[in-house]
């Protein structure tokens, strides 16, 4: 993570440890993004093997998160980071938690994809994939913002999260209509519903990361009155 302060610490090992921490979070981000992307590919291609691969690779994300937590505890105990350094540490801690949750959600999507592949394909899978690509794009943008310290991308995602919510609300209504018309698709439809919900949650985590990146870079919080779109009453 790059903050406006570029100078090196007098104690060089401190700078190296912070760089290592940022690199670990970036690795974790790359993996989380690839899990989401592969889960979406698995839906599109009805590829159960790829879905299984996603389920298995999620474990690596958990290991990375524990490693990042250890690094941060060590930094706090031994270096007592302050100001931008402190913000970088806290940001890494929070982002790692968000990425771990994103991994879990991707894993859950992959599990449901394997179930879906047992049934006839549904037309709405395409809409799910579109929503998924939008969410994946948001995740990519906030991770870029994290790596570069350029908050523009983070702000953009933060402002555009209601696009995801709108997609989700539309899908939700369409799925309800389809399931009401044809009771045979209630089983796979329910899976799609949960997949859509999971993707919406991934979008929320991307928004969280955007807020954390903004705090780490500027030291100020984004105000909580993010534009909220969509109708109420949707779970």
């Amino acid at each position: 993570m790059t903050t406006p302060v570029q100078g090196h610490h007098i104690v060089r090992a401190f700078s190296e440890e912070l760089e290592q921490l940022t690199a670990s979070v970036a690795t974790m981000g790359g993996l989380a993004e690839s899990l989401v992307s592969d889960a979406l590919d698995a839906i599109a291609a009805r590829d159960s093997d790829l879905a299984l691969d996603v389920i298995q690779r999620d474990k690596r994300l958990d290991t990375l998160q524990r490693d990042i937590e250890r690094q941060i505890i060590r930094l706090l105990a031994l270096r007592q980071p302050l100001a931008s350094d402190l913000r970088v540490c806290i940001a890494a801690l929070k982002i790692a938690a968000d990425l771990e949750r994103i991994g879990d959600l991707a894993k859950n999507i992959a599990r449901r994809t394997r179930e879906l592949n047992e049934a006839e394909p549904l037309a709405l899978s395409k809409s799910i994939e579109r929503m998924g690509r939008l969410v994946q794009g948001h995740l990519h943008e906030v991770l870029d913002a994290y790596a570069s310290g350029e908050i523009g991308g983070a702000l953009g995602v933060w402002q555009r999260d209601d696009d995801v919510d709108e997609h989700y609300n539309t899908l939700f209504r369409e799925l309800l209509v389809c399931m009401a018309e044809d009771p045979h698709i209630v089983g796979p439809g329910a899976h799609l519903l949960f997949i859509a919900k999971n993707l919406e949650r991934v979008g929320d985590h991307a928004t969280n990361i955007a807020e954390v990146v903004h705090y780490a870079v500027t030291g100020t919080e984004l105000l909580a009155d993010r534009p909220k779109g969509g109708s109420s009453g949707t779970p």
């Binding site: 302060v5 100078g7 090196h8 610490h9 007098i10 104690v11 401190f14 007592q80 980071p81 302050l82 100001a83 931008s84 350094d85 402190l86 913000r87 030291g219 100020t220």
Partner: protein, 271 residues
């Protein structure tokens, strides 16, 4: 630079929190030692019943500024102070102000504990005696006891008040010196690196004491330990090369300093 901070004469002032009464108000203070300028145009308002920490690298002017507040620079022949320093609105550099009386109102604690070569009792009783604060022996006893209690030392020395002050441990001596400062009923207590000669336990005791004293006094502490400034103070002033660079709530200075020099110093980077 964030818009909500105020910049005057090169100093970043964070918006004040709450409405703490101003105890010490400095405006445009310059200090020269012979023809070398040690402080440049320092203006700051220090709140009452709070701890304000002065931090900055060696030679930044923080101790020089601290010494202006009880006119300790008067004792240095080549030192020249200009600008205004007011305590409760009263100009302390005014010719009518007696520096001896001023120093009773503005107590000072130094880096190394400096008890007088007298008994524990006499160390604390000295100030009240010369300032005529006690009319009877009983009253003096009571002042000594109260001061030692406020300094958190009474329980350790109550049964040996006649022993020499310098027979105490370093941490106890520092608390004795604080009791001596408190005994004359000061309004402001200045501390110049009061814990730098103490071990962590004795330091923790002094820090706890500083936190208690905050209820009744305006405390100003110069410290090289950033962790100490963070632990004990509510406001922090960062000095650099004779300038007051940044002044604001301690939490903000340590999480989100606005000036690059403050940031570099606090995070231990090359300035």
């Amino acid at each position: 630079m964030a818009e909500d901070a105020n910049v005057k004469a090169g100093t970043v002032y964070h918006p004040a929190e709450g409405n703490r009464k101003v105890k010490v108000a400095a405006s445009g203070v310059d200090v020269f030692y012979a023809d070398k300028q040690a402080l440049h145009d320092v203006s700051v308002e220090i709140g009452d019943r709070a701890v304000t920490a002065f931090i900055g690298p060696s030679g930044c002017g923080k101790s020089t500024f601290l010494r202006c507040i009880n006119r300790m620079n008067d004792t240095i022949d080549t030192a020249r102070v200009s600008g205004s320093i007011r305590i409760d609105g009263e100009e302390i550099n005014d010719r009518s102000v007696d520096p001896v009386l001023l120093r009773a109102r503005v107590g000072m604690v130094f880096q190394k504990p400096n008890p007088f070569p007298k008994s524990i009792f006499d160390n604390v009783a000295y100030g009240p005696r010369i300032h005529g604060l006690a009319v009877s022996k009983d009253e003096l006893d009571s002042i000594v006891e109260t001061s030692l209690k406020k300094a958190g030392l009474w329980d350790e020395v109550a049964d040996r008040l006649d022993q020499p002050g310098n027979s105490l441990s370093g941490g106890q001596q520092q608390r004795l010196v604080i009791a001596r400062a408190i005994a004359v009923n000061p309004e402001v207590i200045l501390m110049d690196e009061p814990c730098s000669a103490l071990d962590p336990i004795a330091t923790a005791r002094i820090e706890e004491l500083i936190d208690e004293l905050r209820e009744n006094y305006c405390l100003i502490i110069v410290t090289h330990s950033m962790a100490q400034a963070a632990r004990v103070s509510q406001m922090t002033a960062f000095f650099h090369l004779g300038h007051l660079v940044e002044f604001g709530p301690t939490e903000e200075i340590f999480t989100n300093p606005r000036d690059r020099r403050t940031q570099d110093y606090i995070t231990g980077r090359f300035g």
